[in-house]
Symmetry: C2
Subunit: 429 residues, 2 copies
């Protein structure tokens, strides 16, 4: 129980977290009715301030980077943590992009005049307070704050301890801009303690926090789901499949599996398993394995795949359920479309699954029976992304069925309110 | 641990509940792609069969009614349990109404062609399996099954033990109609054991059950929320307010408070508290208390209300938080619109709150700042209802902010799936 940057002291977590959450709730009430132009002025002002005050941010980032070896961070983690003037420009760009998006608040989702003359409408309103728990990349601090405030919500941010100094520098700038734009300073809060206890305390305050969004490894997410007393928006894993059907365009199939697997192997919408119809396995697997090898991908094949390409590592049963997040791909041969669907139903994570085929009826059956947040036909799994699907920026991808499924943008950070206007209407029997 | 209608035996709850849930999940997969005309044929067929087989239903109901004294049911509970030929006709009518509603499945919520030519659309798909836990009224068995199946979901129903024989008779008819219409018989299941343990076991199976909907007293709902490992759609209480502002039409205000309180006092959208602006209290409270007294309502007033109408019972602090569900009304006088909003924010349940006023700006402020599932202006709180708001039948009212808020109809029993069609699209950097 320590405050980073100071000597170990005892902290009254309960009081601290309650106060933090209470203040966020208070700020959210003001934010709920704030004009769109004020929220946009904050976004644009923050974009400018982040560039103007780059030196502060880079100095803070240097503190985090200096501490990184002590935290045993991997090279990848250090890369994600590292800020450069170019990355700071990119953060500013994200803020401007969010400013340019339509304000979801006040959008009328449904409206009608009832037969009795009652005017009813359902309007988008903010959720209230969103608690975001994430790891490593400091740009999440800026993106999450931007999306929450734009959608009228107060944000409580809890980044990883490896990025605490950087996150504090970014947070200070965002708060300065809140104040100078006449918005409540507690609209964006950073959890000041970095131990795990504070997260647990905050997750126990559904009276103040309306939604928790964990982003990171599966163990972090499972812990948040287990402890949260409020709803959680999340996906556990992205065990995404590409199924190459017979008939299909083999060249297209190769391009799609290489892109799905290797374009960015460390993300949730990257493919982890390739399933191939037996009718095309003999022709497709040699081409695909060459292309994947050139992209640096290790293949782990079942017996039938290895009969075609013996160089593959033999697969073990647990591979089918693994999210490698690395340049490794499980490969299996199936007898039919339905066998592929069955495999995906059993081993998939409901995130993103793709079919490559020229046959319309097979594509339709795959779409109908694969129960995932996004189903792709003749396209890379990597397209399950807020920007690619037209939502603008996203705060994460949900594999839940409740509230929001797939990429979550501004609308997914809202709820609705029924507004009913009468002229003295009362109900009869 | 007994099976009703047989001798006490030991039940393997775990195996029983798992099998029940597994079968429902299997049925839900078939139902997900069932044509709308099949689901409607089942609804209309069930409506006919319920009337044709009324005698079976009434005989089963007689068994429940005979057991009612042993269960210590109140007169109200016995009334809700009692079926008559007319009530059976009403159930059949509900089934036909659901058949006439638009099928939500396949509805395209969003669609666009992206700049790169990718075709993307977001379609409504079923949730999967819905577990409904409710009390007393046997018509809920029929209504819940109808809404779930129409929206492509399998339903697991767990009614109260006081209605078990009646629910079994209704369930048997619904299943016969599933089978004769070529739909999976496990699309509608009735939990065969009536003890509480089965509910807990089912609530621990998120791999099979996608949503739990408890309907009943607050303690039932709190128990379901505490135990459920899957999302829960619910409201705990309906502590609804009517605020009579200055200026307003006093005659209209009287009509609205009488209707909100007394038209059906036992339901969640009935008013429990009347707040009156001090500027109209002297004129309004005498008229309103006369009208409410004629409707049989007991008034519990604060000091300022009793200064105008001394006949009111003195209120105690806990009254403001109570859901009377009875002909009792808490009455208070406030100094301002904002004081009324503050009172509602503190004591309300986020269900339904109404303002009566002729002043536009006050109405707008009340709408903006009262954070409830429905906000009424110059209309009775009783209008927060699926039928009244144009949703058709409802499966319940949610005060949650996630997924669905307010009355939940067919759409609220669905989720969405992104469908992405490319021509070999891959992502660049």
């Amino acid at each position: 129980m320590t405050v980073a940057g100071s000597e170990p002291v005892t902290i009254d977590h309960d009081a601290l977290c309650r106060e933090l959450a209470q203040r966020a709730k208070g700020a959210s009430r003001v934010l709920a009715t704030a004009r769109g132009e004020l929220k946009n002025a904050w976004l644009v002002g923050s974009a400018e301030a982040i560039v103007v005050r780059s030196r502060e941010i880079l100095e803070a980032n240097a503190v985090d980077l200096a501490a990184a070896p002590r935290l045993d961070l991997s090279a990848t983690a250090i890369d994600r943590l590292t800020l450069t003037p170019r990355r700071i420009q990119a953060m500013a760009g994200s803020l401007r992009e969010v400013a340019a998006l339509a304000d979801p608040i006040g959008e009328v989702v449904e409206a009608s005049r009832r037969p009795n003359g009652l005017e009813v409408r359902k309007e988008r309103v903010p959720l209230g307070v969103v608690f975001m728990i994430y790891e490593s990349r400091p740009n999440v601090t800026v993106d999450a704050a931007a999306l929450c405030v734009k959608s009228g919500n107060a944000a409580i941010l809890r980044g990883g301890k490896e990025a605490l100094a950087t996150n504090r520098a970014l947070h200070a700038i965002l708060v300065d801009q809140l104040v100078s734009n006449g918005l409540p300073e507690h609209a964006v809060s950073l959890v000041p303690v970095i131990d795990r206890e504070a997260v647990g305390r905050l997750l126990a305050l559904p009276e103040y926090i309306d939604l928790a969004i964990p982003r990171g490894g599966e163990s972090l997410i499972r812990r948040v789901v287990a402890e949260a007393k409020m709803p959680v928006l999340k996906h556990y894993r992205g065990n995404c499949h590409v199924y190459v059907h017979d008939p299909c365009d083999l060249e297209m199939a190769t391009r799609i599996i290489v892109n799905s697997k290797a374009q960015r192997p460390g993300v949730c919408n990257a493919a982890e398993t390739l399933l191939v119809h037996r009718g095309v396995a003999d022709r497709f697997l040699p081409i695909a394995s060459d292309a994947l090898a050139r992209a640096g991908v290790e293949l782990r094949g079942d017996e039938r795949a290895r009969a075609v390409v013996p160089a593959m590592t033999p697969i073990v049963a647990s591979d089918w359920d693994q999210e490698y997040l690395d340049k490794i791909l499980a490969v299996g041969v199936v007898d039919s479309l339905d066998q592929a669907i069955e495999h995906i139903t059993r081993h998939g994570s409901g995130h993103t699954d793709a079919i490559v085929t020229t046959d319309l009826e097979s594509a339709r059956r795959f779409i109908a029976l694969v129960d995932s947040s996004a189903v792709m036909v003749n396209a890379s799994t990597r397209f399950n992304d807020g920007g690619e699907l037209g939502l603008g920026a996203e705060i994460g991808i949900s594999t839940d069925k409740i509230h929001a499924r797939g990429p979550c943008g501004l609308r997914e950070l809202t709820t609705t309110k029924w507004i009913v206007i009468g002229t003295g209407h009362v109900r009869g029997e």
